[in-house]
């Protein structure tokens, strides 16, 4: 299995790569990362660079073909799973960490503790509305913490604002949207807001504030690792 980290995790969020690989190790899952991992093409597709996207996607497809591919980022997931089929006719065997990790918990391969925290889950558009995956992340969170939901979730989850190239071209709009999502989370009893997309994570963390965030924002892999290593 290839663990495809995605650009943001690879270059900006190394702790997510570490958490993910540590969980894989605990589950004895043989995997490797690509030394020459490149962009999945999502950014190019969403912002109108179709020809460039095709080129980049073809290159990445060659590296991933025939292997099981695990991804951290919801954006990579939607692109590799759905757009590669549509644009290149390549049907990749892609799985998002939420799906794999939920299975590992269900099968008893990994046995996380229950954390004494309330968590809320933000559905990334790419994993939720665009790929229909709402339950796996919630399955994990229910088994490791107390899940308290926001008002608008699943199909109706408010977009964090980072998608479609908006964060890079209109950071102030992206931030305004993320503020709204943080407000949604603050209306619950959640101590932590969890998501499963590196774009959402960065955008929501910025909106929540630094160094004293209004609410802590974590990636699914981070909180799962916490539950797996607590007291050990």
């Amino acid at each position: 299995m290839i663990y495809f980290r995605g650009c943001t995790v690879r270059e900006k969020l190394p702790h997510i790569e570490m958490a993910t690989r540590q969980i894989l190790k605990m589950a004895n899952i043989d995997h490797h990362i690509l030394d020459d991992e490149e962009c999945c093409g999502s950014f190019l597709l969403r912002t109108g660079f179709a020809d460039d996207a095709r080129e980049v996607m073809a290159k990445t497809a060659e590296k991933l073909k025939g292997e099981k591919v695990l991804v951290s980022c919801a954006g990579c997931y939607n692109t590799l799973k759905n757009d590669y089929k549509e644009f290149l006719g390549v049907d990749l065997d892609v799985i998002h960490i939420s799906m794999l990790f939920e299975n590992l918990i269900k099968e008893g391969v990994i046995k996380p503790d229950k954390l004494p925290v309330n968590v809320s889950y933000h559905d990334p558009c790419h994993l939720g509305r665009h790929s229909g995956e709402y339950d796996s992340p919630r399955g994990i969170l229910r088994s490791i913490a107390t899940l308290v939901e926001m008002e608008n979730i699943k199909e109706n989850a408010r977009c964090c604002g980072a998608g479609g190239g908006v964060k890079s071209a209109y950071p102030e709009i992206a931030n305004k949207l993320a503020q709204k999502r943080i407000d949604d989370a603050l209306e619950t009893d959640a101590d932590i807001l969890v998501t499963s997309c590196s774009f959402c994570l960065v955008n929501l963390q910025e909106a929540s504030g630094n160094p004293k965030p209004k609410i802590k924002v974590m990636d699914l892999s981070e909180i799962l690792l916490w539950a797996l290593t607590r007291g050990k």
Binding site: L44, G48, F49, C159, G163, G164, G165, V166
Partner: protein
Amino acid sequence: MVKNMTTPMDESEIQAMNKSFKILNKRRKKLLDNEKTRKLKERVRQIREYSISHLEELKVEAVEKLQSNGVEVIYAEDSNEALKAIYSLVKFENTVAKSKSNTASEIGLSDFLQTKDIQVVETDLGDRIVQFTDKKKSSHPIGPAAHLSMEEIARVLREKFKREVKSDPQEILNAVKEDVMDELSHCNVGITGANSLAAQDGSLVMVHNEGNISMVSLLDTHIVIVGIDKLVGTLEEAISVVKLETIYATGKTSPAYMNVVSSPSKTADIEQILLMGMYGASRVVVILLDNGRSKTLKNSRESLLCIGCGSCIVTCPVYDVMGYEFGYGRHLGGRGVVFSRYLRDKEVCFKSGLFTCTLCGQCTLDCPMEIPTNQLIEELRREMVEAGILKEKHGETARKIKKNGSPYSQ
């Protein structure tokens, strides 16, 4: 005028709008989940799909049938042709009455008539209020004043009428009603839109709650501006479309009024001799407008399925923070951005917010026609980038990805 088009909504207006939308969304939620609504939605989706697949035939049929009903029809390729046609009908009038029409706004009718020294009386309460504000912009196709608080409205009216108007909804209603009724008594021409046009029957269906369309359409000449995207086959189909539109727009199953106009007012009670203009209009003129719709059908087909309910902007996260800046004129939100490409051009589409959509897909989910706006926007972005119209930041990042396989590399 140009300034008004680009002046963004301020924070208090956005907040008032969000409050209105939240109430609306709550009110309609149960109704939208209802099995009957789902069935109606399926039926209307088929009606609209058939209509846009047979648009040319429906156009011909509608013109023939309307004419045989005694309705004059003027086909307008674009805004200019439509304005010219309307001007020739109203050039001797001082004041004309108008109901809410997004199509009339699209062609800039009120501003145009103003330049010809013809006053326009908006008869819809929300529209009349918006007409008195400096920005003159509405925030929802059915609830144009959704962004104005009661205090703000009362302030605007005090200034306009130069008398005390309390910040009280009933008092506001009374003040505007009195003003509009007074103006109406001097009008000979009424201008309305239509929510649907049944080609087979030559019938126009108009939906309203206030009763204003009933009054406006009874004036001596009734002008109806209607886009070719409103065409459907039969009157029964037209009723289904407007019923669904009402459900999604207001959270009610039916509006207070549905007017059907198929001909001028007529009688044959005296020896079967046909006389026109009994109580209603003696002359009905339909302006059938293309204005980019045929181009839309060719290039962004699904967006022409739209029934105009405005559901897409109620839950749009970008509209939620930007308001009517996201969209073009009264074609609000992402679908409006798509339509602006054909209604106007690439530059206008870019400025309407082609690159501010996060492509989240919420509008498709909440659209009764399931218009895949995020996909249409993605396609339009490709066209723009090819034409060299893009955000510099995106170009920079694209170069980095192509060169080094990562958006973060130098």
